[in-house]
Point group: C2
Chain length 384, copies 2
């Protein structure tokens, strides 16, 4: 046949698995394809980390201690284990957004602040994986989170690496019971989604950059402006201090100006403080930039499936393909495009909820910030 989409192995059902196995179910609700929600959610916490070594201290590394409901105690994992897990998930799920890990440390950079920063990044990544309805259910993640035995660990690793249901073959394990429609998902729709994924990533990135820039300026330029204001009022105090005749009458003005100097100094310090809500909103946005940057390849695969479906329909109309073969391929194609829709919808639903939450907190916090400035200014105005 003429079908070339990178998905042939699955679409043409060249080597179906000997025993059918379901790893993901796509539901159809309110006109949308969505992943079936996970029956249980894993709560995992990187509770601590410590420096460890092996080969008689020749090789030192950071061990992160992970706790979850999957084990009574905890497991220790190194960055390289995370790296391995990340690679496994990437290989296994062509239909899921697997965000990149935080950057690996430059060798030997073991100071606590840096490691703690990376711990936060790894925690964020793990949380994202544990919240994913499909990824969170997979053996390899559970193995990573729970295995404490060295022998079983190696065995689990080997099993994951030889998993027959990974990459394009993963779709053999995806089930969608909704009957096939005439044109389940058009190439135009896939292209629209492709564009949407790019635009959304750009939008989130621009928002993050803009808010970052805004806060950078607040803590540099604006802070300095208030320091200048403070200095100018203190300068007036110093000048009044030189009054040779009526200094005793200046004490009220002097105190008032000095209070203003103090207030503007305090306001400048308020601008130096990084607000928690800004940090959280920004981390959320940065995470979505990383997450959304993994969406285009997922969409791209769906678009390939659409193009294949177009081709199949053409071949069918020209009677160059049997009805059975065409039906099989169209059905396979729809699994891919429905998985794409489910993943898209999942990512956007998460973004929707988290963005609403973070932005609301941020705006409330900004309002409090300005109210605090107002209160300080009112308070100093009242001494005049």
């Amino acid at each position: 046949t003429h079908i070339k989409s990178g998905a042939e192995d699955f679409l043409l059902r060249l080597e179906p698995p000997p025993l059918p196995r379901t790893e993901a179910v796509i539901e159809y609700t309110n006109g949308m394809f969505i992943w079936q929600p996970a029956s249980s959610v894993i709560q995992c916490r990187i509770s601590s980390f410590h420096k460890d070594s092996k080969m008689k201290g020749m090789k030192s590394f950071i061990a992160y201690q992970l706790t979850s409901q999957l084990v009574p105690s905890h497991v220790n994992r190194r960055y390289k284990h995370f790296d391995w897990l990340h690679a496994r998930l990437l290989s296994k799920y062509p239909c899921a957004c697997i965000p990149p890990l935080p950057e690996k440390a430059i060798t030997g950079r073991y100071d606590d602040d840096f490691v703690d920063e990376r711990r936060k990044g790894l925690q964020q990544w793990l949380d994202r994986m544990c919240r994913h309805p499909i990824v969170s259910q997979c053996d390899v993640l559970r193995h990573f989170l729970s295995c404490t035995d060295g022998k079983r660990w190696k065995q689990g690793k080997r099993e994951a690496e030889t998993d027959r249901l990974q990459g394009i073959r993963y779709y053999y394990a995806v089930v969608s019971k909704e009957p096939l429609q005439k044109e389940d998902y058009s190439t135009a729709q896939a292209e629209g989604t492709e564009k949407f994924a790019i635009e959304l990533e750009r939008g989130v990135r621009a928002l993050s950059d803009t808010i970052n820039d805004f806060h950078r300026k607040l803590s540099t330029n604006t802070r300095k402006d208030f320091i200048s204001l403070s200095g100018a009022f203190y300068g007036m105090c110093r000048a009044l201090d030189g009054d040779t005749h009526s200094k005793h009458l200046n004490s009220h003005l002097y105190a008032a100006l000095s209070n203003v100097g103090e207030t503007f100094k305090s306001i400048s310090l308020c601008h130096a403080v990084e607000s928690e809500s800004f940090v959280q909103l920004n981390e959320c946005l940065r995470e979505y930039v990383r997450l959304l940057s993994t969406l285009p390849p997922v969409v791209s695969l769906g678009k390939s499936a659409c193009l294949t479906a177009d081709e199949v329909r053409r071949l069918l109309s020209e009677e160059k393909l049997s009805k059975q073969d065409a039906s099989n391929i169209l059905s396979g194609s729809s699994v891919i495009t429905r998985a794409l829709q489910a993943e898209c919808n999942f990512v956007v639903s998460q973004l929707r909820q988290e963005l609403l939450e973070r932005i609301k907190a941020y705006l409330t916090d900004r309002a409090n910030f300005y109210r605090q400035l107002a209160a300080q200014l009112d308070s100093v105005a009242s001494v005049f």
Copy 2:
């Protein structure tokens, strides 16, 4: 004698006026020399202006209409009349701060905005003169504010220009009844005052420059920052608009983000508005910069008088000067230094009161500004 201070004419009483005349009284209250307050305060208003011409329209000019309690109707004055009055006051009062007039218009610049701006400047200048306890009482100002008759106008002008009690001779008309102390005012005190006058002018100038700079940045940089924020939120809306699957679920987030965009736009506009209290504080500070820049020459004359007094005391101790001559000169010197103190105290007392008032209004206004931002942010946070 060796006395050289620019004040010889008065200190040596070379040509005392034939008839004594009192134009200013210095009181001694709470250890301070102050001008006797004026018995009546002139309220003068430049109520309007119009373009006028003479010599059959060959020469056009702006006529300002001045109303005050001195005339039942009004008088018309041109800028050149103000200029003349200003020169007269400068000549007459070596002991008073006569601020410069607002700049003369470039010939032919008669557009209403410009003329109205100058009207405000002239009004401010007139107010300052009318509030001065000594200057406000002088014939030339009253003549300027009240004379409507052309013939009397010329006569009054001539009288003012030939006034025998002007410049250093003005001190013949200044009375201070407080007995002379051993060292009424020391050279060191005069030098302290000299320094104070300069430092105060610098302080006020720096405050004005700093606040100006701050507000310039608010209306440019900060305004633009909020436009960027607004744009970034609108950008997110546009991106969400491209959602191919779950657009109907985005309407809440879309509306919220769009509201934030709207709010930040509105906040950016708030930053474009020049606040009245800032304008008034700034005008007040700029006026004091001009007023205080006229203080050093006044102080300088007082310092000369101190140096003369030092010299006289030395000559007296060396018995090179008669007790009577020394007493006369020291008495004259004290009139000059007491006038200097009275003027300094008057200027600082005005500054004290006006600054307190303006800064309080400014701070209250800034507090309201920030409270307004807070209210807008709270309001938009509530739609999330």
